[in-house]
């Protein structure tokens, strides 16, 4: 395998064993996906729902759109915040490939930041002024998804770097590009739809705006059902168009690779059955919660499979480099302790806030 264009390993060595960074990369990417799904899927759904609501504020579609964009007030910031960690760990593990991939995209990669900024402020402007801003926000977030899929596919295929150097947009012609993009976008929509359905069911069962919340739950549930159908079809297409060595790697990887893949396919089928079972989700709150939990678990397992596919793509190259390991265990332990303490503080703070409601002069 010709590795001429692949830069050297970093001379500083890896500040911990690779397995630790693989774990942290997958774990933090999963956290990022939760909020990214809400942001991307929520905004796309809100855009369509807003159009269907036709400007009637009491229409369930309009309420759904408003609610999804309300969630986005938090989700966008948290998607960015949780995205920092996987961006950090991917640079430790795959610095040679990741930087090269981003450089070959150049301005397109840089403009991801501009799109993110426009997407966020457009979402804010939509809340204030309506108008075309929701569409702008949806478009920019979709553009960011396209950019991420592009950089991923470029960085895992060093054998094609010379071609991408001549024309980075050639990545759009990669057989896996569109199925992969669709897979992520549909998953985001499914997740946002099920969160919206779950919330509407809770509200309806609590007796709040029962009619509207029942309608929202049913609409969101249908979104979840149909996007899951499409994900299943697209998932098999994606599997079929993977480069042969990568697909063979998955198939011959034994329990380590076939396990997560099989579990996620079974979960997918299970999700479809659960989604098809309920005509009126409000009558099946347990099923709704279970479906959302199962979807979250599926995303976690698929995150593992996604990472394994990257490992297999890069294996012919990474196997030729042997990083020096210079562990900083003390610093890792400090990080782990602070992470636990930090997350505990966040939960404690939220709990304190939820248990301290106040009104009038008593309120802050």
């Amino acid at each position: 395998m010709n590795t001429d264009l692949i830069p050297a390993l970093d001379a500083a060595g890896m500040p911990g064993p690779p397995w630790l960074f693989h774990f942290l990369l997958v774990f933090t990417f999963f956290l990022h996906l939760i909020f990214m799904n809400l942001t991307l899927g929520g905004t796309l759904m809100a855009f369509v729902a807003n159009l269907r609501g036709g400007g009637r504020t009491a229409d369930p579609n309009a309420v759904l759109a408003k609610r999804l964009m309300g969630v986005n007030t938090y989700a966008i910031s948290l998607a960015i915040t949780t995205g920092v960690a996987p961006l950090l760990f991917v640079q430790v593990l795959y610095q040679q490939y990741f930087y090269s991939g981003t450089i070959l995209l150049g301005w397109i990669w840089f403009n991801m930041l501009v799109l993110l900024m426009i997407g966020y402020y457009a979402a804010y402007l939509h809340k204030k002024f309506r108008g075309p801003w929701l569409g702008v926000s949806a478009l920019t977030f979709f553009g960011i998804a396209m950019t991420h899929v592009a950089v991923h596919l470029i960085h895992v295929q060093p054998e094609k770097w010379a071609r991408f150097d001549a024309n980075a947009l050639a990545v759009l012609g990669d057989p896996t590009y569109w199925p992969r993009l669709l897979h992520f976008v549909l998953a985001a929509i499914t997740f946002a739809a099920l969160v919206a359905a779950w919330w509407a069911v809770r509200r309806a069962r609590a007796g709040v705006d029962v009619e509207v919340n029942t309608a929202i739950a049913a609409t969101a549930w249908r979104w979840g059902l149909w996007s899951t159908v499409l994900i299943m079809v697209d998932g098999f297409i994606l599997l079929g168009v993977l480069p042969k060595p990568v697909l063979l790697g998955v198939m011959r990887g034994g329990l380590a690779t076939l396990g997560p893949l099989t579990i996620s396919i079974l979960f997918g089928v299970g999700l479809l059955m659960m989604l098809a079972r309920a005509k009126n989700p409000v009558e099946n709150p347990g099923l709704v919660s279970g479906t959302l939990a199962a979807l979250t678990l599926t995303i976690a397992v698929m995150t593992v499979t996604r990472h394994q596919v990257r490992v297999l793509y890069l294996d012919p190259f990474t196997s030729q480099f042997h990083p020096t390991i210079v562990p900083q265990w003390g610093n890792f332990i400090l990080f782990a302790l602070l992470l636990v303490a930090g997350l505990a503080t966040v939960f404690w703070m939220i709990r304190r806030v939820l248990t301290s409601p106040a009104e009038g002069d008593e309120a802050a």
Binding site: P7, Q91, F110, Y121, N331, T345, E362
Partner: protein
């Protein structure tokens, strides 16, 4: 240097400056704003003062809109741009300090969640719970500064890390504490600069009180940051301070930056004393703008000074800004840059084209062809020679000579040179001869830059390099074989004919 190169017409350094400057201003505001807002709310609760409460509330909207997204995106933006323009350099930093950044991320999570909760729970939760959230926000924000300050200061003064390569030796480096004090003052300056605007929206009878209240904060920020700045200067190694201090500073531009920095702070101080403390009724939008100019000028000046004194290193005495490690110099000089980088080796083997790729790998992280730090402007051309030889109108030859040639021929007076060099007619008759001459000069300069690399390589390991000993202390050395020196010289000389290979000039991607 072994990565593909993203060639930006405006210059990667300029792009980085834009992203970094906006980020540091917003991120420091986010920290100082957290402190002042939560203290303001505490005072409002204690005094039952609705105007103070409104100041805190209005300011928290700015905080949420600006810091949680713009601050976060521009912070990621620094990584993105660094990865695009100096991948080897940012990789080295991350491989050494990944756990530092991971710890900062933990504080960042606390900061962002607390900011979102703080803003959205006004009028909805008890005062005590709201204040708790505000203080947790400030703790998260300030500790993210405590962590990142270690990495930033390490880059200029790595201290004991150069010998031990130990995380904490680099983290608690000589400028860590002064810089923390300085930035603590700066966060207050940034916060007041932003918070004056919401203060102007208070009722006319209370506005002067609020303006004066913020004035006291700014005054405190000025004293803390000035003390931190002087402490920072005092602990810098002599080798660094000599670049911008003393009667004959090595880099005059940096000495001017230092003056600008301190005068900006003086402007901020004067505006505060006069318009915020003595006559707060007079404070208007212009006052806030002047205060912003002073505060941003001081902060920007300090950052420029910090970056400028570190040049040409990214990690002082260890890693150059183009990604070259000091420890690689001997090896690349022996084996060649083409053996080190596949992106240099691949492509047209013709010397000029090869030289173009060497330029991209070694020089393009600082130089553009015609834009920022234009290499074409820095090189001798036939047109330069004609201007010097023509001396039209009389006296201009000496001026052009001083501008174009004295950096290399500082020991030769204009008249002496005029007698040695060809006449205007001779130049016009045979410009190729002049180009040959220029090629020789370029080659000589590259040889000197290559020799400079050997000085770096021979330096005692584990010590901070004394840049005063070098002629071109602001540049990384050239590394490569003699054949590669010739190829790069041929490429650079070809720029005088306007022949710029698209690979090397980069068409932008």
């Amino acid at each position: 240097m072994d990565y593909p190169i993203w060639n930006v017409a405006m210059g990667g350094g300029v792009l980085m400056a834009w992203v970094a400057i906006t980020h540091v201003i917003v991120s420091h505001f986010a920290i100082g704003g957290g402190l002042i807002i939560v203290i303001t709310e505490t005072l409002a609760v204690k005094r039952s003062d609705p105007e103070l409460r409104e100041l805190a509330r209005r300011s928290s909207l700015v905080l949420i809109l600006v810091s949680t997204v713009f601050g976060a995106i521009s912070g990621v933006g620094i990584w993105v741009v660094a990865g695009l323009i100096s991948p080897g350099a940012i990789s080295a930093l991350i491989h050494n300090y990944v756990w530092g950044w991971a710890i900062e991320w933990v504080f960042f999570i606390l900061e962002i969640v607390a900011a979102l909760v703080y803003y959205t729970t006004w009028d909805k939760i008890s005062k005590g719970a709201h204040l708790l959230v505000g203080w947790l926000y400030f703790i998260g924000a300030y500790f993210s500064l405590v962590v990142i300050n270690g990495i930033i200061t390490f880059m200029l003064t790595p201290g004991g890390w150069l010998e031990s390569h130990a995380f904490w030796d680099g983290f608690f480096n000589p400028t860590y504490w002064p810089s923390l004090v300085l930035r603590t003052g700066i966060v207050v300056l940034m916060a007041v600069a932003f918070m004056l605007w919401p203060a102007f929206k208070a009722s006319p009878d209370r506005r002067p009180d609020l303006v004066r209240y913020l004035g006291w904060w700014f005054l405190g920020g000025v004293f803390v940051s000035y003390a931190g700045y002087r402490w920072w200067e005092a602990v810098l190694p002599d080798t660094v301070t000599a670049l911008f201090l003393g009667e004959a500073p090595t880099l005059a531009g940096l000495a001017a930056t230092r003056s600008f920095t301190l005068w900006s702070l003086t402007l901020g101080l004067a505006v505060t004393v006069v318009a915020l403390l003595l006559a707060p009724k007079l404070a208007r939008g212009l006052t806030a703008i002047l205060l912003m100019v002073g505060a941003f000028g001081f902060f920007g000046g300090y950052e420029r000074l910090r970056e400028g004194t570190r040049k040409p290193f990214l990690i002082h005495s260890h890693l150059f800004s183009n990604g070259l490690l000091v420890s690689q110099i001997d090896e690349i000089n022996a084996r060649g840059i083409a053996a080190h980088s596949g992106w240099v080796a691949a492509g047209d083997p013709a010397p000029e084209a090869f030289g173009g790729r060497i330029f991209v790998a070694q020089c393009a992280s600082c130089h553009t062809i015609d834009g920022y730090q234009s290499i074409r402007e820095a090189l001798p051309t036939v047109a330069d020679m004609e201007l010097v030889a023509a001396d039209q109108p009389s006296g201009m030859g000496a001026v052009h000579y001083r501008e174009q040639c004295s950096r290399c021929h500082g020991d030769i007076e204009y008249q002496e040179m005029a007698e040695m060099m060809p006449t205007l007619e001779e130049i016009r008759e045979d410009p190729e001869f002049i180009r040959e001459l220029n090629l020789g000069m370029i080659t000589m300069t590259l040889v000197e830059l290559r020799d400079m690399g050997e000085e770096f390589a021979d330096f005692e390991p584990g010590k901070q390099f004394d840049m005063r000993t070098l002629d071109r202390s602001y540049m990384p050395p050239f590394v490569g074989t003699e054949e590669e020196v010739e190829a790069l010289a041929l490429y650079l000389a070809s720029l005088d004919r306007g022949e710029t290979d698209v690979v090397a000039t980069g068409g932008e991607k």
